[in-house]
């Protein structure tokens, strides 16, 4: 793997995580439990899509084939997406969305904190901007965990159920490939294994406060580093990419 290939794949992964998570959250548009929460979730979706735009633009530059961020988002097949599988999971019920957001935001908080010190200035710049948004996403989902966890028996059980179902998708967040190892030695990428303890501490603190049991580590899903996904990504892309697939280069 060349330096260019490693950097491309690394930035693509960061961009794909933001893009797919953003797209999933946008599915709450007009379906939020109350108007205010509808706006809150779609605001977070927009933050993610903005971040994806910046990262995929940079990835396209690195690739050097004259593509745009839109080409990368709308014209790549499923097997060339490197987002963590947790991001592509359907939004489920509100508790599931909140639990998923908490797990992802806690991870992104530590990731972007570290990446804002990256020796790659573009990555550092995007991460520093993203970090401000991620801090808010974290606070938003954390406070909802408190409310649902300490709310009614039903809301508590739904939140507990969500964390139980999501836990097997968290192992993948910390997996590293050839590109990670190559870029870590140059101070560009972050050693994800080093974030695991911090992430677990952040998540455990929130779950304990929310009276939710921390699920035990068991079987962990894997595959996205090699473009292997759950059955859900294909359906998501079919919808997200429909327009550009049906009418290539359509503009409005």
């Amino acid at each position: 793997m060349t330096q260019q290939e490693a950097l491309f794949k690394y930035v693509l992964r960061l961009g794909d995580n933001a893009l797919i998570q953003g797209h999933r959250l946008s599915e709450w548009c007009s379906k939020g439990p109350i108007l205010e929460e509808d706006l809150a979730l779609t605001n977070i979706a927009l933050d993610n899509i903005g971040l994806a735009q910046a990262l995929l633009k940079y990835a396209a530059e690195i690739e050097g084939l004259g593509k745009t961020e839109d080409d990368l988002a709308y014209k790549r097949p499923e097997r060339q997406f490197y987002n963590n599988q947790i991001t592509e999971l359907p939004i489920g019920n509100f508790a599931f969305t909140i639990a998923k957001q908490l797990l992802i935001s806690s991870f992104e908080f530590h990731l972007y904190t570290a990446l804002s010190q990256s020796s790659d200035e573009t990555i550092a710049g995007i991460a520093a901007k993203g970090l401000k948004e991620v801090r808010y996403h974290f606070v938003h989902s954390r406070d909802w965990c408190y409310r649902l966890g300490e709310g009614t028996e039903l809301s508590h059980d739904k939140l507990q159920q969500a964390f139980n179902e999501l836990w097997m998708y968290t192992g993948e967040l910390f997996e590293m490939g050839e590109e990670d190892n190559l870029l870590i030695s140059q101070g560009i990428a972050v050693n994800l294994q080093g974030l695991l303890t911090k992430w677990k501490e952040t998540v455990s603190t929130v779950l304990t406060e929310a009276t939710i049991d921390i699920p035990a580590d068991g079987f962990m899903q894997t595959g996205s580093r090699n473009g292997i996904h759950t059955e859900h990504l294909g359906h998501l892309l079919a919808e997200m990419q429909y327009l550009q697939r049906a009418y290539p280069d359509a503009k409005w």
């Binding site: 109350i34 205010e36 706006l39 605001n43 606070v139 406070d143 409310r147």
Partner: protein, 96 residues
């Protein structure tokens, strides 16, 4: 009447720039003050409108009634001398 399932109502005040006053911009629904602040942030400051937010439960507001308007406000109609227009503005003062 159907029960309101939209949580409690809060009034939102936004300060548009640091040092300025907070202006009432509208209201949000929320179950607690953190949620009220976050909802206000998401709804009223998405386009860089604010530098600070106040939220106050709407139940703590008391309003004057329209029936009392003549009693409350008409008496000041003919008291022009209460405006500070009869004083000389100190040189260089922009606001008083």
């Amino acid at each position: 009447m159907a029960t309101d399932t939209q949580l409690d109502l809060w009034e939102v005040f936004i300060q548009s720039k640091s040092g300025g006053h907070h202006t009432h911009v509208g209201s949000v629904h929320a179950s607690d003050k953190q949620m009220a602040l976050q909802n206000a942030r998401d709804i009223y400051t998405r386009r860089k409108e604010g530098t600070s937010i106040w939220v106050v439960p709407s139940i703590y507001f008391t309003a004057s009634t329209t029936e009392d308007a003549d009693m409350l406000f008409d008496p000041s109609d003919d008291k022009l001398y209460r405006h500070p227009t009869f004083y000389e503005m100190p040189e260089g003062t922009k606001q008083i």
